[in-house]
Amino acid sequence: MVEYHRHPQQDDPNKPALRTCIVGIGGAGSNVLDRITLDRTVDAQLVCMHTDIRVLGHAMAPTKIQLGADLMRGVGAGGDPELGKEAAMFSREEIRQAIEGHDIVFICTGLGGGTGSGAAPVIAEIAKASNAMVFVTATMPFSFEGRRRLNQAEDALQQLQKRADALILFENNRMGELILPKDGIQKAFAQADQLIAQSLRAVSTIVSTPGLVKLGLDDLTSALSTSNGRCLFGFGEAKGQNRGSEALKRALKSPLIDQGRLLHQTKTLLVHIAGGESLTLLEVDAIMKQLGRHVPDHTHILFGVAVDAKLGDSVSVTLISSLGLAQLNTLAAAAPPSDMLPLTQRAMPSVVEAVSTVPVPAPAPTPVAAPAPAPKPRPAARVAPVAPAPVPAATPVPELMPQFVPAPVVASPVPEVLVETPAPAPAPKAPPSIEQSMDLLFKDDEIISMATQQEPEQPFMMDEPELLQIEEELQAEEEPPFSMDSEEVFEKPEAEEPEAFFEPEPPAPAPVPVPAPRPRIEDFMPSTPTPRPVTSTLAAVVARTSVPAEDLAYAPPANNVVAKKPVNPEAQIDFSFGEQDRGRFKDTEPALASGGEDLDVPTWMRLKKKLKR
């Protein structure tokens, strides 16, 4: 396993303060950055990156980078992540220069569009290569923006998850919960920006300001260490009387925490309380006591207190935790789907999608592979690790640049990966995934970093993005000396594995549609309708009574029987609820156990219809 430096900050008391850099990418990112710039709340270098020169012109950040100036000519990416990515690749050098030399790089971006989704993974990659801790704050698009944008966002999210050390996700859909419905749209967006800005500020405060009870990056990572989880974040600040409980209340109100409900499930919770010099122990005590009611006893609470003169009279409470997918899903199961957090479905669908798209290898590889200017020369990749050049990260890039040749075979990186990963055996035959097309672009970067980052100097040892268990296993097996190597390794398995497993055996996808036929079982239940009618007078009379045929016309096709079982034997049934068995109303009207029949049609008529068949 990867070992952590438990207290990296204390190793060297003379170490200068952490150098942080906040990068805003795309429209959403630059909005957040503007907010941060205006608030002057964070002591960090602010870099705004965009493809669109006009947006960049309005941005208030001190450093601005126009992505792909030559390629894009100052026009936006037009919602195409491929363009955004290429633009970022073009401006790689500038980005590297801006980001280099920072200990923490915050990346905030709005996913779904062109620049944000396309460039952010590239920038995260570059930041990672410069040995910084990468902390990503991303917003997901509104659901009304359409399925396509959501897919783009999800793709980008997966890219980012691999490269980021921590990721906080904000859902635009849940933004409505921040504000009153009557408030103007401008306020809504401003609030969302504010929330993101707060999160950045809180994290940077936590890890950088000296505290009475110190929380470090190590605590932060352990709070976020649930594999493939969702980050829960809450921030509240209040002044005046009861400021402590008020701040906590606000923190719990954060839509990401769902009124504290999601905290019931957490294993680790990071709590950071900061206040001016007037902060009293009593207040801290009260806050923690109040918080204790919302978390289970066994939760590991990472607690930190800091006194920050800047805060003046106010007290701020920050809650950070993460929740695994499994727990989220149990919550989701109890919730009406419309209401549920989209993220919960995210990882699941992506697997399902992978399965379903296997026959049609995503259109991406071919078109992308051709125009991509970057794809790496394979020989270089092989040679580089053999002859390790102890050069700083930035230098070899120009040297390698001229060697670039058009992408070789798309599938070529796979075997190389397999050498390192013993897990997925049938992988070589796996078709190129969607991921891969993306990775091709990164290949050179990764390899460069692989070749160059020989110095194992790692300020924070943060090289374990909290993604999949696989990663840990992989790392356990081979103890990679530096971050990018391991990154490179599980890049592939993660992308490949679902397909590697599903592709060779066609029956595998079958279980997916299984739930659908469930109602049918009831169809086959014999003798559910009244058993008597066959011998009854009705049958006899039916023959005699002259009911006009058109009367029967609106009897529905009676291929269903009145189902004995309730369609929804939900929570109402039992006294003893489970832990997660919080009552929720279904979002539809109570379904009658009609088995699809129109109950307004006379019973006898439906029965007759059935008898006739």
Binding site: R293, K564, R582, M605
Partner: protein
């Protein structure tokens, strides 16, 4: 000091609109002062579909009730029903602070708040939230948790919710009369207050109010309100079935159902005929009685089966059996069908004895409106059992004053 209050309950049913004026006495008894009914038009499956017609009918019923009782009615408790009404049980948990060992009032309030906080579908409003029990450190069925030594307190709540726009439409209709709506009550819960006595609730019972357009049902188990809901099927469907089976007008089918209808058809000798007369007594035709009864039987059975399906998980624990009330429960043989469907004791019941117009309380048709008076009384007494309702009533009123 015997203080009495006069309440009026209004039920806008599918077959009739009914206003009951009653006097709630301090000792818990009720005296019915007057009843006004009018046949209802413009209501379908318990929901208003034609405002103007309902308005006229409502005025009729109101005037009759006022004449009868000699009371000027200003405020009413409005009983609503409809398939949009749904219920759920929710449990809220609350952990006491580390240095605190005894449950205080604030803790109880907090846990109530948590338990009542249920995700409801959009556009719906919680009509009732009734505390079922408290669970203190795993000890179930605690009625009074304040002052107990504990670490964890949980509250079980039964929450009944309905579609806000539909409820608002009913209220709007009543406000146009003009009447003030004091509270909106689900008919089933109101009826259960007078149909089920304390023992029946404790032993566990299912009450079905078989109305004209809907069947409202309420399950009490261990003295706790456990399930409540509404099936949009009722007596009108029976009449409709007869009308279509016998090819006679709906009104005639309705009359036939009331005078001759029965759910029992097996023992009827073949060839026994029922005469169908028109208004003047002229016989327009004959139908086989067994056939007609079977049509009725099928529909009644279906309605009861729907209720059964919705209460399935609780059926086994209802010692006091099934209580049938409402106009359709007057149908002959319906208890036998219910026994067949539920497999337990079936009681046909009207309202529990109240003083006043004696003919009224015995009639199961008036269970729900009388129940509204009882409900109002309970609300007034602020029994711990229903105290949250009062707050809810206020909330409802606030909300409506904003909305309208």
């Amino acid at each position: 000091m015997a203080k009495t209050t006069i309440y009026a309950g209004l039920e806008i049913g599918t077959s009739k609109i009914c206003v009951v004026v009653g006097e709630a006495k301090r000792d818990g008894t009720i005296k019915i002062l007057g009843v006004g009914t009018a046949p209802s038009r413009g209501v379908r499956k318990g929901e208003i579909v034609d405002f103007d017609t309902v308005h006229t009918c409502l005025n009729d019923a109101l005037v009759r009730a006022e004449d009868y009782s000699d009371v000027m009615i200003k405020n009413v408790f409005l009983g609503v029903t409809g398939s949009h009404i749904e219920s759920v049980n929710n449990r809220g948990a609350f952990r006491l602070a580390a240095d605190q060992s005894e449950i205080t009032e604030d803790d109880v309030e907090e846990v109530k708040e948590i338990a009542r906080n249920v995700h409801t579908p959009p556009d719906s409003i919680s009509m009732h939230s009734v505390a079922r029990q408290y669970i203190v450190d795993g000890v179930e069925a605690v009625r009074q948790p304040i002052g107990r030594q504990a670490r964890l307190i949980e509250a079980d709540y039964h929450i009944v919710h309905g579609s806000l726009p539909r409820i608002q439409n009913s209220i709007k209709c009543v406000k146009e009369v003009p009447l003030e709506v004091e509270d909106v009550v689900f008919n089933g819960i109101a009826a259960a207050q007078v149909v089920l006595n304390r023992d029946a609730k404790r032993e566990g019972s299912l009450m079905i109010d078989l109305g004209g357009g809907t069947a409202d049902f309420v399950v009490y188990a261990d003295g706790m309100l456990t399930i409540s809901g509404c099936i949009p099927l009722g007596g009108d469907h029976i009449s409709q079935d007869i009308a279509m089976a016998l090819q006679i007008p709906h009104g005639r089918a309705e009359a036939l159902k009331v005078s001759e209808g029965s759910c029992l058809y097996e023992d009827i000798p073949e060839g026994e005929m029922v005469r169908i007369e028109d208004d003047t007594g002229y016989v327009i035709g004959e139908v086989e009685r067994a056939f007609m009864n079977e049509v009725i039987y099928l529909r009644v059975k279906e309605i009861l089966e729907q209720v059964h399906a919705r209460c399935e998980g609780q059926i086994g624990r209802l010692a006091a059996g099934v209580y049938l009330t409402g106009g359709t429960s007057l149908l002959k043989g319906i208890d036998a069908v219910a026994r067949e469907v539920f497999g337990m004791k079936v009681t046909r019941a009207g309202s529990a004895p109240v003083s006043g117009v004696t003919a009224t309380f015995e009639n199961p048709q008036f269970s729900a409106p009388i129940g509204l008076i009882r409900y109002a009384q309970i609300l007034d007494q602020e029994k711990p059992f229903l105290s949250p309702l009062k707050r809810l009533g206020k909330r409802m009123a606030d909300l409506l004053s904003v909305a309208l």
